[in-house]
Amino acid sequence: MEWKDWCDRAVGHVRFRPDRKAIERELTEHYMDHRQDLRRIGYDPELASQRALRAMGDPDEVGRALDRAHRPWLGWLWEVSRVLAALALAGVLWTAVWGDGAYTVSRDVRSLTARETAYETDRPDFIAPDSDRQFQRVASARSGDTAELCGYTFRVPYGAVWREQRDGADVYWLSAVLTAEHPRFWEDWEYGLDLTYLTLTDSTGREYRTYRANRENEDARQPEEDSPYYIPTFSYGWKRTGLFRTEYSIQAPVWSGGPVDWAELRYPLGEGFTFRLEFEEVGP
């Protein structure tokens, strides 16, 4: 039997065809090494080939052993896993370079690392840390209620009234924090909750709307406070404080007339929710 016939017979047992070439190459290298060694110690070429071939053993037995080592399901799984990994890697690179994926990830990481442990320790959140403006917290509140809507759990863990001296007179600011906890973090990832239609009412009867809701309402496009169409505006910002939690900070100006006794946050769409904050004075 010639080497080529031996090799074909052994490799023919391997059912996972993509591996056959590599196996053939490895067997040939093994056979050639042995043959070279025999030549080196003085065998003539033909005898060296015969001895080396005999040493390779029974081609059917070797072939069956090779087939067991190169099982088709594992071979195909390996091929599929290579293609999958290459495609997924290419997708990531493509999205990072040509899509806005890199921006999305870096923004999300930034927002996740921006977590804080306490609310407004010495000044309202909406005031820049290097501002000279002087504020004093005169009242605070928290609502123990929770509201569950569409899988979100809402709470209002913090509310405060701040006093500021402006041109010799006291003006007041109301601030509150609304938190939303949600199991479906992926839904809240890029374009999460839209609280445009949230309203804030205080004990003076004044109802505030968000800037965007007012902008959509033509009657409220009057900037002057004494206009009959004027609707007070509050602002809100949000930050993600965990994978499953988002915090909305709310600020409303209470221009004059002293601090308010209570405030209500109301979301009017669908089942909606209402949180009432009863303010209690705090000492200086």
């Binding site: 594992l74 071979g75 799984l77 390996w78 896993s81 290579r82 999958l84 990994a85 495609l87 997924a88 890697l89 997708g91 990531v92 999205t95 990072a96 899509g99 994926g101 890199a102 999305t104 990830v105 999300d108 809507l149 569409c150 899988g151 979100y152 479906r184 992926w186 839904e187 990832w189 890029e190 374009y191 999460g192 909750l193 839209d194 445009t196 239609y197 033509e218 979301y267 769409l269 669908g270 089942e271 909606g272």
Partner: protein, 252 residues
């Protein structure tokens, strides 16, 4: 240190271990890709659920979707839904992992019908919402605006310009609705002056020509949408003083 050296330093893995490594790498990359694409939804229903959750609503009805993919927008498809008197829209685009959502919009209309003007185009309108009962629809809208006389009628001394050299254009157009599906009509205005041929070469025809191209100098006002039943009886009439120009609704 070259790549070959690094490769030799790595532990040699057998085929099973390489399968596990590749699958783990693929899973990690897919997760990263999902994140980069803002976790695309797998179906339009999934998009609608996400839109509902955005506004804390439940029980919305998916009406239809439209596309303007030929225009080359980043997010060329729009989904329309309703929830009682609220109309919801959301634009999205297709990605290999599903439908990537973009910001949604919510409109509150007492009659459940919304009329919007196409972005930058004062001559194309869409009505959508509670339109199942209507067999035909008609839109009347006035295009109005002031233009510089120097641009349109420099040599026409009779053109009635005001003290600031501005000409006032005002023309009312009527268009029949093209039914797209039970919940949607599209209206395309037709040029009056070009069609009638009576004002060819006048400043009005030039302004109108400009109005029918993108970035119209005219704005729509006093739009009246009329819905009719099969017998031609008026079912509903809706007046919209200033039709909203939609930046997030696309149609062809």
């Amino acid at each position: 240190m070259n790549l070959r050296n690094i490769r030799h330093r790595l532990p040699r893995l057998n085929r099973k271990q390489r399968v596990v490594r590749n699958l783990a790498l693929a899973a990690l990359c897919l997760l990263l890709l999902e994140w980069m694409l803002a976790f695309p939804a797998l179906s339009r229903r999934g998009l609608l659920r996400r839109l509902e959750h955005r506004y804390l609503l439940e029980g919305s009805e998916l009406l239809f979707t439209s596309t303007a993919a030929d225009y080359g927008f980043d997010e060329p498809h729009t989904l329309y839904a309703r929830n009682e008197d609220l109309l919801l829209t959301m634009t999205y685009n297709w990605t290999p992992l599903g439908l990537r959502p973009w910001p949604g919009e919510l409109r509150r209309e007492e009659d459940g019908v919304c009329l919007v003007q196409q972005q930058w185009c004062a001559t194309s309108y869409m009505a959508f919402g509670n339109l199942e009962d209507a067999v035909s629809a008609e839109l009347t809208v006035t295009l109005a605006g002031r233009v510089n006389k120097a641009d349109y009628a420099a040599e026409d001394e009779d053109a009635p310009a005001d003290a600031n050299g501005l000409l006032e254009y005002r023309e009312t157009y009527t268009a029949r609705g093209e039914r797209q599906n039970p919940y949607c009509f599209i209206f395309r205005l037709e040029e009056h002056h070009a069609r009638d041929g009576i004002l060819d070469g006048t400043w009005q025809s030039m302004v109108e020509m400009q109005a029918f191209s993108p970035f119209s100098p005219l704005l729509p006002e006093d739009a009246v949408l009329r819905l009719y039943d099969g017998a031609g009886q008026l079912l509903h009439e809706k007046t919209v003083p200033h039709p909203e120009e939609s930046f997030r609704i696309y149609w062809k």
